[in-house]
Symmetry: C2
């Protein structure tokens, strides 16, 4: 967790916010939001909202904002190691690794992701303090059975890390398994309801439609008071109009409708205003990441979420690049630097994202960790006081001299500046002598060493046994 | 030139600015600034400033600020193609290419720069509209004689581009040559004094010392009313204390002393508050670029310059990386994105910088152009109005549909989003079919095509002949 005490960079005028408010209100009133879920429809209906065509809810904006007001502005999420617990909201920023990739890339090899990759990437997430979580689906382990895969993933997240994690959302029963396994680790339902222990990503089938399986999962998590990250999935040009203001208004309509549902399911349950907003290449239809439009959308989303009084998710180390090259570096920072300017509370895909999210890349993981380290330092305010002016050093060094040996320098040289994890400033001769390795090659060395030396965090043996029992029993029940 | 109408990102409190004001005032009063130039000393002395040890001026801060107030807040610089003229100051941002590199990198080859490289890199600068200038020493052409090299460079800048350029600053006579050649192009001394035609980079031999050769050049340019970019050269840990506030106060002391001198030489002559501020690696002594400290220094410098009422220079596509890799991409953006947040008026090293400024890199040049294009788009404010909400598209598409064929999309798909120059979002199969080229390899294709197709901008034949005559005569006089 990082406390971002620097100013926010806000780009929307009060007029622009008013336009967006009129925009989402008109959408929910006149077009409505589709909920493919009879129980959700029943809840909206009994709360007095108009339902048309069986599953389209025409929402009253005032009702929506009444529901939104029930959601906490900030909340805690406990990790099994209390030092890793986080606070979501306010100036706090928390970071999870990449989520949902069917492939991995390691060096020049791109392959289907496996459970071994899942574990190795989870171990990297545990190692680096810049991450508060491995996320939930750090890659899609295609070598283990689909029906019970969520058990393997959740067990890995719970045992290889002592950080917070994300619950499975593929179905209601999967969500129930995530919740039950969390009860085992944290000492029962009451404990996890008191202070939540995981986040769950609920994506909209944008435009304006929430699907049944995701909603089943949302019901499970909201009932258990676990925070849901309610996220419109907007690639402008495909899932929203080709206009940033239109996408922002749609994003408000979709997210706020789901927040209202969450508050109907369990008033006061924690939610996160989610954003996943980029655009497609209008020539090829490919998604593009790290674009100007996504940066502007990100900064705007932050301001909108503060305007609505909700903690929010956006950002990450996003890129379209196919390899850990210059494009991967600049596109990732083109998303991560605005993420810090925005003060995003919950950042998914903060490490390892490659190729538009199809690939979890080991090298890119290390690159992103370097970016997070640099940005944490950049967004840590400096002290400006008499001492910081180091006037004595000027008296000591005088005109045209150098400060290398000055007393002020000698007292501070160890930690006065950011020290890179990955970046090299070696001179050309030394760099050549060391093998002329580019950043990707150096990243390989870094993650290989981390994995070689990895020790899993300790866990109570009886808890571990109970988890294993649960997973084995459920696996049998699921026929895997 | 780019007009940055987005908000500035300001990180210094009023208290911090007051601390910095006390800081520079104490330095100029108690330590003083050394000017290795009898004429400069005489000017300060006759203006009532105290001189010690023959060349150290103890400045009265009030006197300094009186001189600073004589400098214009904004000014024009004319290019020989009036469409390429720029305005320095206010919301305007202008960009020049990398400056001063003894080496070039092209693909995997790193070699001593030649005059052919100088011309080729100048041609790239002419081609890309994101650059307002090739700068001045886009690389150091080591295959032509030292004494007359400035003539070759200036001629190349004047003939291969029709943009503004930078004058030579190696010595007073070199500066005089740059001025005389500009008189030829622009129709005489009176014309260039009326509206300046070039910038000149005057670096401080930090800490607190301005050297004779640079000052000789400054005198020439100030007398001719050409703007000087008065730049403290601060690698914290070597040329300044290991503290950002201390470096900022020193930067103010050094730059403001030189601004005062400029106004004594020619009251009202245009100046730019210059900043070149990064840090060294305290383990190896190597300079580091694209660091958190440099980003914070950059943002602070912008605010300081506005506080002082001076146009300013900072930023660029800086990196320590030895090759056009992920590090080069993220470090360049780690400097360029803050450059836009700061609204920098004059940006040097905006394209082509590699390896701490030792290398002009062709591939990196194209990478930086892509970054400038992305940032120009990002920092162009959006319209938020009813039309931008595209409500009709929602009515047309409904729930769970897609916007690919919507009327709103069809009307706008050609230019609704940023279209990359270099970045690829091709799917993996297509990218592989195209040769699995990373960003650096694609950059090679881009600059090769630009150079193959390059046509120099037209120039009046009689001007061209007069320039050639001047260069040939001066070359003979210099014995080359």
């Amino acid at each position: 967790m990082f406390v971002n005490s620097m100013p926010r960079y806000e780009i929307l005028s009060a007029d622009a916010l008013a336009v967006l408010d009129r925009g989402w209100q008109r959408i929910v009133t006149e077009v409505g939001v589709q909920f493919d879920h009879p129980e959700a429809i029943a809840l909206f209906r009994s709360a007095g909202q108009k339902v048309e065509d069986a599953d389209v809810v025409k929402l009253d904006p005032e009702f929506v904002m009444e529901q939104v007001a029930k959601a906490p502005r900030e909340f805690d999420v406990q990790a099994r190691n209390p030092e890793r617990s986080v606070h979501i909201g306010g100036d706090q920023m928390s970071f999870g690794a990449v989520y949902g990739c069917p492939f991995v890339r390691e060096g020049n090899e791109r392959r289907e992701a496996t459970m071994s990759d899942f574990r190795r990437l989870t171990m990297l997430s545990q190692h680096f303090d810049e991450l508060d979580s491995a996320g939930g689906v750090i890659c899609e382990p295609n070598d283990v059975p689909l029906d019970s895969r969520h058990l393997d993933m959740t067990l890995a997240l719970q045992t290889l890390t002592d950080k917070i994690y994300m619950g499975n959302v593929v179905s209601g029963p999967n969500a129930a398994d995530s919740i039950r396994m969390s009860e085992i680790v944290f000492g029962g339902r009451e404990q996890i309801e008191k202070t939540p222990v995981m986040l769950a990503l609920i994506n909209c089938n944008s435009p304006l439609r929430w699907d049944s399986r995701m909603l089943d999962a949302q019901f499970e998590y909201n009932r258990a008071a676990q925070p849901t990250v309610l996220t419109p999935f907007l690639l402008m040009g495909a899932m929203s109009p080709v206009s940033v203001p239109a996408a922002l208004a749609q994003q408000m309509a979709e997210a706020l409708a789901a927040v209202a549902l969450a508050q109907l399911i369990r008033p006061g349950c924690p939610v996160i205003f989610g954003s996943f907003l980029s655009n497609i290449d209008m020539q090829s239809g490919s998604p593009q990441f790290g674009t100007p439009e996504s940066a502007v959308g990100l900064l705007s989303t932050a301001q909108i979420a503060r305007h609505l009084g909700l903690p929010f998710r956006t950002g990450g180390g996003l890129t379209s690049s196919q390899t850990a090259d210059a494009q991967a570096g600049y596109e990732a920072l083109m998303t991560l630097l605005p993420t810090f300017l925005a003060g995003t509370n919950w950042v998914m895909h903060a490490a390892g994202w490659l190729e538009g999210g199809l690939v979890s890349c080991y090298e890119k993981f290390v690159i992103d960790i370097e970016l997070l380290r640099m940005l944490r330092k950049t967004f840590t305010p400096l002290e400006f006081d008499e001492e910081s002016l180091a006037f004595g050093a000027h008296v000591e060094v005088g005109h045209g001299g150098h400060f290398l040996g000055a007393a002020h320098t000698m007292e501070r040289f160890r930690d006065c500046f950011y020290r890179p994890l990955l970046s090299s400033s070696s001179n050309f001769e030394r760099w050549t002598r060391l093998g002329a390795k580019d950043a990707a090659a150096r990243a390989t060395e870094i993650y290989t060493k981390v994995l070689d030396e990895f020790e899993p965090p300790p866990m109570d043996e009886s808890i571990r046994a109970e988890l294993d029992d649960y997973v084995n029993r459920r696996r049998r029940e699921l026929g895997d």
